[in-house]
Symmetry: C2
Subunit: 211 residues, 2 copies
């Protein structure tokens, strides 16, 4: 349970006390015969050295400081989708999960994002759906609704759908929304926050929206 | 909130009082240039007439009685994967979500699964990861652990990973595990159960395991 004990202080970006490690389990699905080479190419371009990483036959898990987890996932998506292929991302972000502390050593890293310089100028329209699950708190619906408001403020909210909220726009705006919603939800009574994200990129069905 | 008020009685399979509608938001990702025709072909083969269904640019949502929701999702997966294509499923099952009641009329359907006869003889190895989120209950970890035990009893549990549990084996065994875990979790204090599932099928990385 040691990963549930403390927070990174927002003022300094330095983690204090026992680490509060974040993580993301994700899969990228390029809908092309060249899916293997696309994924391998992206892996070569993404710097994951500030995160613990493990890939199995279903998904990849990265763990470490929140900013590096988001940095790695966004970079993987962009380096795959810049090829023009239709790509889907499925991701589950989590923080405060009672469990083991594998990768805790990565909490000592600084807050400089390794991949942002190479990707910040890449434009990419994405359509996505996200859902927040603040665990162990009877007032969880209020936390969820507050973060739908966060998306509204960012201008990325598309609309609510069953079991999720739609976000769309440029990938950087959408990821900023997701990261802020994930952070803000941690200010609730829940110490364990889960956020699922499904993203569709370069879909044939997006052409009307973006042209 | 009307979909949180009552349960389907296990003895009769008949829903009583206000409906307890289940739902699943899912996406199928065939990793081939022919992804559009594969999905369209599967849609033509699956009978969704006992469920409410809506597809947007990111995912498809089906709602109705639990058994029909699972029947439709399994059939969509099998009719897509029987082509031999590498296919990934991402699905979020939910019941008891406070929200609207769209599709409630489908709760009056009987319990005869429309797609099972056409798919029950199809064999398919799948590797998957699932996670349960029993909402609004401080004792949620006990509910999760009990359902990992359910998977152990089914013989489909592969191993626990960060933020999920691995299930693998024949698709029918894996879906039986998922459906039972989802049902059993509803016996907890939580009235709102969410279950995410990621499934990888016909992956090049499975060849060693299945041959």
């Amino acid at each position: 349970m040691s990963d549930t004990q403390s927070f990174t202080t927002p003022e300094t970006g330095i983690s204090c006390g026992t680490s509060r490690i974040a993580g993301c389990r994700f899969s990228l699905h390029p809908m092309t015969d060249q899916f293997v080479s696309l994924i391998k190419g992206a892996i070569e371009e993404v710097d994951t050295s500030k995160t613990w990483r493990f890939t199995d036959d279903v998904s990849t898990c990265v763990r470490g400081r929140e900013e590096h987890v988001f940095d790695v996932v966004k970079a993987m998506v962009l380096h795959t989708s810049k090829t023009g292929a239709h790509v889907a991302l499925n991701a589950t972000f989590s923080i405060g999960c009672p469990g083991d502390t594998e990768g805790d050593s990565y909490m000592a890293e600084d807050d400089v994002r390794l991949n942002e310089p190479a990707i910040k100028h890449l434009k990419q329209y994405v359509s996505s759906q996200f859902a927040l699950y603040p665990m162990g708190d009877s007032d969880y619906m209020a936390t969820i609704m507050a973060q739908v408001d966060t998306a509204q403020k960012h201008g990325t909210l598309k609309k609510g759908v069953h079991y999720a909220s739609g976000l769309h726009g440029d990938i950087h705006d959408v990821f900023n929304t997701l990261e802020e919603a994930f952070q803000q939800a941690q200010q609730s009574k829940s110490s364990h926050i889960v956020m699922t994200v499904n993203m569709s990129i370069n879909s044939p069905s997006h052409k009307e929206e973006t042209n």
